[in-house]
């Protein structure tokens, strides 16, 4: 490539050279590739209610709605690639899919490896505590104690929040939330940290054993699409798509359906 570039510089004028770079950039942008292929490949991972399989084995959830609408607006088919959360960024970088639409929190350290779109949603961390083990706990400080163990999903912002806000507590990491929730139900950890609304749903499901020690979420995190670095064309498209659907009120409406109601519960069990 470099050799070709040098030859080009010598052979033609500077203006045509920069024009060819521009063409290359356009040709190599993810959006162009998607349009050519006719399929948008989306990397995601199961997070209730962001993305999950329903009774029919089809994917449903907030992220699924967002990605489906995005592909529809681009005029291409959507294809979901369920991927383990711990390996989702390497999978994006090695080209297993075009974009991560999976409730990924925009975090500075992640941003060093991937580029994020503008936020299309906000989430926050919430604590789910065990009624007997964590009886009387009502502040973050109560959990920041060496005798307290806390469970979270590996590689998530929940795990990062636990390290930041409760550095003295013992942190136990699991592959997904259901294992973390099973751990608290078994009474082996005092609390589970996860993105809202999961803790609230679980507290409603097991009122005799679990409760929410804090009234509100203790963090607020922007959620964005993650794409490979240095792809201005794709970022520009995604950013403006988000602005458009946000202005329409469509994002708010979908968010309310998945996070504000429990109408969808009948679809999964």
């Amino acid at each position: 490539m470099t050799f070709l570039a040098i030859v080009l510089v010598f052979a033609v004028t500077t203006s045509t050279y920069s024009a060819s770079i521009q063409q290359d950039l356009v040709r190599e942008s993810t959006v162009e590739k998607v349009m050519k292929r006719g399929i948008l490949k989306v990397g995601m991972s199961t997070f209730v209610p962001w993305a999950m399989k329903d009774k029919k084995g089809d994917l449903i959830g907030f992220e699924i709605d967002v990605a489906t609408r995005l592909a529809e607006d681009m005029g291409v088919k959507v294809e979901f690639i369920p991927t383990k959360w711990s390996g989702i960024i390497p999978a994006l970088l090695t080209g297993k899919f075009d974009v991560i639409i999976g409730g990924m929190g925009i975090r500075p350290d992640r941003n060093l490896k991937v580029n994020f779109s503008i936020p299309y949603d906000y989430t926050g961390m919430s604590i789910l505590a065990h009624k007997e083990l964590a009886a009387g706990f009502d502040s973050l400080e109560d959990f920041n104690h060496p005798d307290v163990s806390i469970a979270a999903r590996i590689g998530t912002t929940a795990a990062a929040a636990a390290k930041k806000f409760m550095p003295r507590a013992k942190l136990r990491l699991f592959d997904d939330e259901s294992q973390a929730v099973q751990e608290i139900l078994n009474g082996r950890v005092h609390a589970v940290i996860a993105s809202a609304p999961l803790p609230a749903f679980q507290a409603i499901k097991y009122p005799d054993r679990l409760f929410l020690p804090l009234d509100a979420n203790f963090t607020k995190e922007p959620i964005g699409f993650a794409v490979k670095k240095s792809d201005v064309d794709t970022l520009n498209y995604f950013n403006n798509w988000i602005r458009v659907v946000e202005a329409e009120g469509w994002l708010k409406e979908r968010e309310h359906y998945w996070f504000g109601t429990k109408d969808w519960q009948g679809l999964i069990k």
Partner: protein, 299 residues
């Protein structure tokens, strides 16, 4: 030797002990950790009635079950081919071939399969699949060919992941196949080689008419046994998101939170698969044994 019949005191004691253990587990889960058993939702994840098409179709768990079978069959088939080539290399007179085969076997057998999978998935598979143009090739196929491919392997979207999983498993299982085939050939008595050589047969003729027919009978049962190992080992490719049984189980668990029910179901499904294979292998061994005796008797 006569077999003892009837139940002894020891048998009763063992049965009582096992039942107490089971009862304690059930007690722990239901009373101590208050597990809400909910078995009623599991069957619909295996088979469900499709209203649109008006017939029963397979769901998540069964799709995973079938993917596991396809994965294992392809792996065993290709691993036998790779193992045969490498097995011949292992006993070759050429130092280079022996070194190649030995390095391959030792390298694979001394690396954890999980590490191998990660290296392959994140590093090699992307380079190989792009270089071969697998993706463009699949998309260029007609709908019918895609359907046939989906039946024997995986749907177009998952084919690339399926293929890299098969390649990794083939490399891994191939090392064991190599040793099975090498051992099978080397187990044939030296006299057979000497006698056939004295009859004026070339090396290839010796292999073809004397050694291999006998070696095959010894090789087949361990190869079939390796199929069972492959079925079990195939669970590790769930970490690279190949949608086989374990992966579907993990997905279902994340969606429904029915940890115990899902894992018990998965265990039973794997057991049905491997146990029926091992019954089949016993049959195979018996029939080979009988065939072997009649073969000798005819001499």
């Amino acid at each position: 030797m006569r077999r003892k019949r009837g139940i002894t005191t020891l048998d009763v004691a063992v049965i009582v002990l096992i039942l107490t253990g089971l009862a304690y587990l059930v007690y722990r889960t239901t009373v101590v950790i208050h597990y809400h058993w909910n078995w009623s939702v599991i069957p619909q994840y295996m088979f469900r009635y499709d209203d649109e098409r008006g017939r029963w179709v397979i769901n998540l768990l069964m799709q995973g079950f079938i993917t596991t079978i396809k994965l294992s069959l392809w792996t065993t088939l290709l691993a036998v081919i790779l193992g045969t080539v490498m097995g011949f290399f292992r006993i070759s007179t050429s130092l280079f071939k022996r070194l190649t085969a030995r390095s391959y076997v030792e390298l694979i057998r001394n690396v954890p399969p999980l590490v191998l999978i990660f290296i392959f998935y994140f590093f090699l598979s992307d380079q190989i699949m792009t270089a071969l143009g697998v993706e463009d090739f699949i998309l260029s196929l007609s709908e019918r060919t895609q359907k046939i491919l989906a039946f024997f392997m995986a749907s177009p979207g998952q084919l690339s992941a399926f293929l890299s999983a098969v390649i990794t498993l083939v490399l891994y299982e191939g090392a064991y196949m190599t040793e099975i085939i090498r051992a099978g050939i080397q187990s044939i008595e030296k006299g057979q080689w000497e006698a056939s050589s004295a009859s004026g047969l070339s090396w290839w003729q010796q292999m073809r008419f004397v050694i291999l027919p006998q070696a095959t009978r010894r090789i087949l049962p361990p190869i079939a046994g390796q199929l069972i190992s492959t079925i079990k080992d195939s669970a590790i490719v769930s970490v690279v998101s190949v949608q086989e049984l374990t992966f579907q189980g993990l997905e279902l668990m994340s969606a429904t939170y029915l940890t115990f029910e899902v894992w018990i179901t998965i265990t039973v499904l794997y057991f049905i698969l491997t146990f029926s294979c091992s019954l089949g292998i016993r049959r195979l061994e018996l029939s080979l044994h009988i065939e072997g005796t009649s073969f000798k008797a005819s001499w």
